[in-house]
Assembly symmetry: C3
């Protein structure tokens, strides 16, 4: 049984049995120059973007695309994303992925100093920084293909953070799993944040879609979302102009220390389930963006070290990760496509961890910045 470890370059097309890696350089418009890396195992593929911080652009499971249709029509090369626009909102010009990481110094709403000068842009830098050391391992015996790489987020005298990533597919399961380790390379202590913005649209999202999660506590992000609290886990059809709604939650974990959130497609025959190690990702945000199809009809499942408020608010609540010199923290997640009876059995497994649940009808002052 073969095992190959390959440096990722343009124009790859390698396969061993059910495992494969293909790369191509995108051309024209906002995607010009981006390298797209597709890994495949059995009937599952994942498309990874080294130039966008190893974000996972799309997944395909047995012919079903998992992702969403963003109005930005990406993927977008970071050189066209004005990440340090004084508004702090330039990130929105590149937002298009199935899995967009938000970090490493900060995530959440942009933060400004008292003079209005940008301190932390929306959702941070990591999704617009390039990876190095990108390699793929095709392990035929294990039936697994893994993409490895690292992304540095460094400013002299400020921070020196490195994220080392492995993204894997198994030939026998329609799932992508990934482990990110963020290390403080500095000789001084530092703090960091991470949030996984996992974004799913049709066919999983539609009128009648349901979010299944073992909620321990839930609060709307803001007063605009309060009216949706009783229907927090239900979705409507796309409606042009409808504003986004966000709920913040603490979820219960299973015995293995994993929390889950499953989006069940209309009709219930199909679902995607995101699960993650909850010790390092204790916060969960649910983003419901049910506007027009042309404007990005999508829901975001967002496990994080924190809720996506401005960084200083989260720091005051103790929701930043402290990293001593040379220390690291790992995040482990998986996103699986479920069909048929698996939908019911995963629902059962998730709800087995459920117990008393508490819902707030207004924002929790320690979860939502004013």
């Amino acid at each position: 049984m073969a095992l190959k470890r390959l440096t990722v370059v343009d124009g790859m097309d390698e396969a061993i049995g059910p495992l494969a890696v293909r790369t191509r350089r995108l051309q024209g418009g906002l995607q010009d120059g981006l390298l797209l890396v597709e890994i495949a195992a059995g009937g599952t593929t994942a498309q990874v973007l080294p130039d966008r911080g190893l974000g996972i652009w799309r997944m395909n499971s047995g012919g079903t695309d998992i992702g969403w249709s963003s109005p930005v029509r990406g993927p977008v090369h970071p050189r066209f994303v004005p990440i340090t626009d004084p508004s702090g909102l330039g990130w929105l010009e590149g937002f298009d992925e199935l899995v967009a990481r938000c970090g490493l110094v900060s995530n959440g709403a942009p933060e400004f100093d008292p003079q209005g000068r940008l301190l932390h842009p929306l959702h941070g830098r990591i999704a617009n920084l390039p990876a190095h050391g990108v390699e793929v391992t095709l392990d035929e015996a294990a039936g697994r293909v893994t993409l490895h790489g690292a992304v540095d987020e460094t400013r002299f005298l400020f921070q020196s953070l490195r994220m080392t990533t492995s993204i894997s597919l198994q030939a026998d399961r329609p799932r992508v799993s990934w482990v990110d380790t963020v290390e403080n390379l500095s000789d001084r202590p530092t703090t960091m944040q991470m949030l996984y913005h996992v974004n799913i649209g049709p066919p999983f999202l539609g009128a009648g879609s349901e979010l299944v999660a073992a909620v321990e506590e839930l609060a709307p992000r803001d007063h605009g979302a309060a009216a949706d609290v009783p229907t927090w886990n239900r979705y409507d059809e796309s409606r042009p102009g409808r504003p986004e709604q966000v709920h913040f939650m603490a979820l219960r974990s299973d015995e293995a220390g994993r929390a889950s959130a499953m989006l069940v497609a209309p009709g219930g025959g199909d679902a995607v389930c995101l699960s993650w190690r909850s010790d390092t990702l204790p916060c969960f945000s649910l983003w419901k963006n049910q506007g027009g199809l042309a404007d990005g009809y999508v829901t975001g499942l967002e496990p994080g070290t924190n809720y996506p408020n401005p960084r200083s608010f989260e720091a005051a609540q103790g929701r930043v990760v402290s990293l001593p010199p040379r220390a690291g923290v790992s995040f482990a997640l998986e996103l699986e496509h479920l069909t048929g009876p698996a939908v019911a059995s995963v629902r059962e497994r998730i709800m087995a961890t459920a117990a008393d649940s508490r819902s707030h009808d207004r924002p929790r002052p320690d979860w939502s910045a004013g």
Copy 2:
């Protein structure tokens, strides 16, 4: 008779009869990596920059260059243009073209929020965004070469605008003509602005050059330009350190609904005439930048949806274009080189539309922001 539609790539060199397209990738310094596309028909060529929003860098008519000599010595790759510099003036580091579009969200002077944070950079983003779908049609029967392409200006949750462009040359006429259609791809209504910054220097600009236009009403942009109102249509020699002067105007249109502005070279034997559909471009700004030759001795003929004030001022005056979901607006312009008797006959044609004209000796408060 042949008709070819070709995808534009690096290293093209195609010709059919009097029609041709050539491309090359520029190297070194601030132009490194830019693709230059030259289309030619008979003795006329136009050089188009897909990476700079399909701007028209230069035109050549029978050996005469039409354009200007900017101190930025471009063309400049957008990656070197700090468009979101907090000053809002980064656009000036790439300003070099014969035809630079200003839009799509906004054009005109930069605008800031009350804390001084940039909202809209000078002249907007479109001239520094890349085109996609760039193709050239060589139509031998029609004697016409046309470059097609589209540029997207999109920010998630904000705007989703697409400009689709055709730029044409006819073998039998020393003229470039172009049609831009801007469409709102969003499911929500939006607003937009467009201004064409058409910039011409020597040999058309010089002491004794004249601007011919059928003015209905004219006002200086600011008090600094007021003294130039009596001589608004005359040009002086280059003089180092002379500040720019700008006049805002409403022009009269001909029966076909077109307005025109003709710059007659010193001596009167040569001219360039810009004309455009005035229903969608009702405002005309004339920029006279008669400083030193090394600093860009140039005049700008600027038809627009508005005058180039900060966006909120123009919006308050009703000078933004409203676009319902999926709606579009088209702009059609042409720039022609005139020689010999054609100069006099076009002058006659333009002045045939003239009637009473009103000049203000100070800025109109509804045309110029305070």
Copy 3:
């Protein structure tokens, strides 16, 4: 004896006798796409980065690397350096070179307008602007290899500056020397600044390293550096978390009009000496950054037209260079590796110019901005 003048392109590998030039395009991560140009003469090499304003990334003398280990792990392509970040500190994300130029419009601490809007980013633009006209001359008779090039820093209506550079190695001497001429290409007068940030780490920097210079006057930059005044010319071991210390000085020049600063390695057997024409570079700043090894344990020898305060402070003190239209100013420097008896003889030569010296125990109000 051969003399070759070659345009610098990717993939060069040319040699004549002891002279050579090699180039390669770096790949992956933050260095992706950068061209590295290595010139060599005898046992000395210098690596130059045309894309980073012709900065000198590293030097090697007989197997000894001269440079430092920056946490940014560059060289970093300018497209990843957010130079116009509203904080004004984005420059720090690309700071990695042995010789980083700071200018041309400004250098020093960032400056903001009263609303907090960035006017001048830290250390200016030049180190993140691309060179054009890059050529190498291999002159066998002279035993010299020289890299030539130019970098433009231009904003329409603002400034039009060009730096023309020659960087040379001699086969018979372990030294890199360079001459930069900055010219005002505008028809209007202008002002500019330049500072050479020459950064050296181990093995030259370590506990017991000494800085040898003929000080005429010295003042700490700030109160934090005041305690270090008595030990200004001595270095400690790396200590995580130790803040930087900066001293500002006027040095004495030799009869040829050159000032020098020599960093003697621990033990005294090895040194690097920077010397420069002091008429155009009258100010000297010494940066001692003796934090953790992972955070960049380094000292900066920084001859400049000024001290690195915000530009308006320096202008008020008369420390900007005025350039009439078409006028230029030249800067000439050399950095030499010294071993054995040369260390003592250079020390003697430097100290021969010494005379009365004055040290301040607090910042000079006309040298340090409040």
